[in-house]
């Protein structure tokens, strides 16, 4: 593969992908809800990336907060006030964004890799492989998520890595089933048969014709799985199964609940993390829907 003549088609492929991306981008800009979601996401991404610049990590420790007033309202302690230990809520929100987004994205990455692999293998090989993988996907689909995640998190122990792992391996089944059905239709195309007649191996057909064919679906599914993963993280953290060392929006809600912020009427403690979760989840869903309509020509016709 060191020969220059073989590199240029690859470069060609990249320029082609670039053009396809630009077309998708123009379409996305035209959907108002999609662009709104994207803006909110960009805002949260910036907050997460530049967290140390706009908030103080030291302030998250209760030891450093002994001098602060407890349950201080936003007017007393700008910008958002303090919690039951005197820790500023603003710093918790900012650093919580990091954890929530990290867990959401990493767990989704795991789910997408498993889902795509399982879906492509089940659809492509068929027969008993399909039967086994299909039953496995259905098993993960019907099993109640919360009890399974609680059991797994309890067994593995509460750490960030385990939370990502638990959410990842419990949320791939929908993707696998969607990908499998797409592979089944792709497999019937004459150009796949032609590729086989060319002397291509199964792996070659998969890499060359099947995987590129399902990639748009994987992308759309990614944006739809991230919000579910973030909600799952919030749920697990609220149930006290999150990493006790790390502050996330879910653990903030848990702390607020445990500390009786509701009866103390300290709304600035429990409303901001809730609003943040809702905003991020909503934005991902909006972007996901917009992408889905752009990447699926049948939906695109309906939209116009």
């Amino acid at each position: 593969m060191s020969v220059p003549a073989l590199i240029s088609p690859r470069r060609l492929a990249w320029s082609r992908r670039g053009r396809a991306l630009r077309v998708a981008w123009t379409d996305l800009r035209r959907t108002r809800t999609g662009i709104a979601g994207l803006l909110v996401l960009a805002l949260f991404a910036l907050i997460a990336i530049f967290a140390p610049l706009i908030a103080n990590e030291e302030a998250l420790s209760a030891v450093n907060a002994v001098d602060n007033p407890r349950y201080a309202a936003p007017s007393e302690f700008p910008p958002i006030g303090t919690d039951n230990l005197g820790r500023p809520v603003w710093d918790q929100i900012v650093f919580g964004a990091r954890i929530s987004l990290l867990v959401g994205l990493a767990a989704t990455a795991i789910a997408m890799v498993i889902g795509t692999l399982v879906g492509v293998c089940a659809g492509f090989f068929g027969g008993w492989v399909d039967a086994v993988l299909g039953r496995l996907s259905e098993w993960f689909l019907v099993i109640p998520f919360i009890p399974l995640a609680i059991v797994l998190a309890a067994i593995l122990g509460p750490s960030l890595r385990n939370i990502i792992f638990v959410i990842g391996i419990t949320s791939w089944s929908v993707t696998a089933l969607v990908i499998r059905s797409q592979v089944l239709t792709l497999k019937q195309r004459l150009y796949v048969e032609r590729s086989r007649a060319l002397g291509a191996s199964g792996a070659h057909v998969m890499a060359r014709h099947i995987l590129p064919g399902v990639m748009p679906l994987v992308l759309a599914n990614t944006t739809l799985t991230v919000p579910i993963a973030i909600l799952s993280e919030t749920t697990l953290a609220f149930l006290g199964l999150g990493d006790p060392q790390q502050i996330s929006w879910g653990s903030m809600l848990d702390d607020a609940f445990a500390a009786g912020a509701l009866s103390a009427e300290a709304w600035w403690y429990y409303v901001p993390p809730g609003v943040c979760v809702v905003l991020v989840v909503l934005s991902f869903s909006l972007v996901g829907r917009a992408l889905e309509t752009i990447l699926d020509p049948r939906l695109r016709d309906r939209r116009r």
Partner: protein
């Protein structure tokens, strides 16, 4: 006569369906000499395209294929998967019918030709070879950068021919290469195939339902009915003077322009091709035959000599020989 390049002996292909086996090809034998063009004709569902698939063993999984497909004495049907993949395209390749669907709509046609070359060789000249192939089939090399939808039907068919030639195969199977094209383009594609066949000394199997096309491109023709060859011989002789009533009906099905008797008297063949699951007894053609004899339903027909390198599976051939 030189030794045949491809020998097919007693080929049976049975598709699997929920209602049981469906025999699509039932005992077909033929030879293909180097540099020869053999025509396979017959109506839809007679097993022509199934033979094309069987020669390269690209049929749906579970399909039962028996018999022998000897390529230079080596049986394609017995090859191990790795050897089979190596033989595909380098020895035998297919020009598919339906050019639009045989090309991946989201890849450039040049890349798809390149795909065939890269599967078999890692040659630095692959890109140059693609341009060369496109020029060979009469397309400018820059059309390799186009997507299939940017090409016309005839151009796509030319791309498929270039694709089939990518690895210098010795046998080219043209599976209804002109079906979806209009008459002018058909003629161009036929001319191209004929030219290439002579220039590259290809052996070609040409599959179609149009006997007049075959008389134009082929030396020898075999006419198939219900999964069997019912007549074979020199192409123009079969077209002009068919011995088997089915072959003559097929030859007559294409009207002669300007011939009034033809126009006043359209001579379609009555009835439908038989259901492969319930093939009539004896001569399978007897329910539709215009010259059927009382003994036909009970007669096991085979290819009997019908004079001068010709054979036909019809009782009338026997009778003529006796007389």
């Amino acid at each position: 006569m030189t030794a045949p390049l491809l020998r097919v002996r007693d080929l049976h292909v049975t598709y699997r369906s929920e209602a049981g086996g469906v025999p699509a090809v039932r005992g077909v034998s033929f030879d293909l000499a180097p540099g020869e063009t053999l025509g396979l004709a017959g109506e839809s569902g007679c097993g022509k395209s199934t033979i094309a698939g069987a020669l390269l063993k690209v049929l749906p999984p579970g399909t039962e294929v028996t018999g022998e497909v000897l390529l230079d004495g080596e049986d394609v049907l017995q090859m191990k998967p790795g050897r089979l993949r190596a033989v595909r395209w380098t020895e035998m390749s297919i020009v598919f019918q339906g050019a639009l669907h045989a090309l991946n709509p989201v890849q450039r046609v040049g890349d798809q030709i390149l795909e065939a070359i890269e599967i078999h060789h890692t040659t630095p000249a692959a890109k140059a070879r693609v341009s060369e192939l496109l020029e060979l089939v009469g397309l400018p090399a820059r059309r390799g950068g186009d997507y299939p939808h940017q090409l016309s039907g005839g151009q796509r068919q030319r791309v498929l021919i270039a694709l089939a030639l990518a690895c210098n195969p010795r046998v080219l199977i043209a599976d209804e290469p002109t079906t979806a094209l209009d008459v002018m383009v058909q003629a161009q594609v036929l001319e191209l195939l004929e030219r290439l066949q002579q220039e590259l000394a290809l052996s070609m199997i040409f599959i179609t339902h149009d006997l007049s096309t075959l008389s134009y491109v082929c030396q020898r023709t075999a006419v198939m009915y219900a999964g069997r060859i019912v007549e074979e011989g020199l192409a123009h002789e079969v077209f002009a003077d068919a011995r088997h009533p089915y072959a003559s009906a097929l030859a007559y099905a294409f009207p002669l322009i300007g011939d009034h008797s033809h126009r006043m008297n359209p001579s379609g063949l009555a009835g439908d091709p038989p259901d492969p699951r319930a093939i009539p007894s004896g001569c399978p053609f007897h329910p539709r035959c215009a010259v059927v004899q009382p003994e036909c339903p009970g007669l096991d027909v085979e290819l009997w000599p019908a004079g001068d390198g010709r054979r036909a599976a019809c009782i009338h051939v026997l009778e003529r020989a006796v007389r």
